[in-house]
Symmetry: C2
Subunit: 207 residues, 2 copies
């Protein structure tokens, strides 16, 4: 099994995982690259090339073992262990994302909710009490936190991120409209909603 997979392939991998999961739900045990190709609207040769990265060598006239591929990709994506998630900024979007993470079938578990607004202190979302951001120091002494979600206003995101890095957070899921500047060993995945809307707007103009 190969772990040096390019970011371009990795961008496509969650989609394979999603499709393979649906196939499993529907009781499909084997699938040819041709069938998968039609479902996913990707060329069959692209699929063969991508899945070879995961030891998913299909057999001529026999196809891929769906469960095997699903499990291998799950391992590579780090989905065989539970990731503890704490969220910072419990506004509308933050509350929605907290619920989303809690109800999603993936192995991510909300363990803490933090906000700067004292009026939110003690309120609950998905059964978790909102704490103040400066209580995090205390919190992380007792709980493992693998990922911090930032659903904060732009100006608050960077100071909070710095504070969290200082206290050992090594991965961010960032919804704030700002590119975080973090040490090299810290991982950031951005969801920039406004960038996505602009992209849509451009493609509308263009078509």
């Amino acid at each position: 099994m190969e772990h040096n997979i390019s970011q371009a392939v990795i961008r496509r991998v969650p989609r394979y995982y999603r499709y393979l999961g649906e196939l499993l739900e529907n009781g499909v045990e084997r699938i040819s690259s041709k069938e998968l190709s039609e479902r996913m609207q990707v060329t069959a040769s692209q699929i063969r090339q991508d899945l070879n990265n995961f030891g998913g060598f299909g057999q001529q006239g026999y196809g891929y073992n769906v469960q095997f591929l699903y499990d291998e990709i799950g391992k590579i994506l780090g989905l065989t262990k539970v990731h503890n998630v704490a969220l910072f900024g419990v506004g509308n979007l933050g509350a929605a994302i907290a619920n989303y993470v809690s109800f999603e079938k993936l192995p991510f578990r909300m363990v803490g909710l933090f906000d700067a607004d004292p009026e939110k202190k003690g309120k609950k979302i998905s059964g978790i009490e909102i704490q103040m951001v400066d209580e995090f120091e205390e919190f992380i002494r007792k709980h493992r936190v693998d990922i911090a979600v930032l659903t904060l206003p732009k100006d608050a995101a960077m100071p909070v991120a710095e504070y969290l890095v200082e206290h050992g957070v090594r991965a961010f899921w960032n919804f704030a409209h700002v590119d975080l500047v973090v040490p090299k060993d810290v991982v950031v995945e951005n969801v920039h909603l406004s960038d996505s809307l602009m992209q849509l707007s451009y493609n509308m103009t263009d078509s």
Copy 2:
């Protein structure tokens, strides 16, 4: 001015727009590619190459005119006119996105909210009353809808998208965990939150 810009460049453009907007807010009139490069953590030559697509030829020792570039990029992104947005699926995420679109400074205007749950009928979010999905036929006769946001469960997304395409919708901002199958002249921009979480998980495992 060049309109045939590659999707790779276009993926980077909203970020330029965001940075240029911040510079304007801070009263910066001119900036060199070197300074912009340091802020954006992109090489200066990449910046020069990208911005040349927008007629933003910087002058040696003089730099880029921030307002000019901002305006040109805004035109190309289709941000000089208002886009009317209707949202389908007013759960937690839908409500958050509706608020987001309403408060964002970009020229997108929420004009309608639709849900399938009769208990939500008539409730208001950001001053807009929730209607039933099948009222959309009536609605679109009276209102222009440029973009449909889908914040629906996976299984509902495709039938609703088909219904909307039938009634003239030509652009989707899709948050549902499904790849929409739509006619060629219909534009789809996806925000797949679970794909993004998996990406993060992979990069954590990898580092």
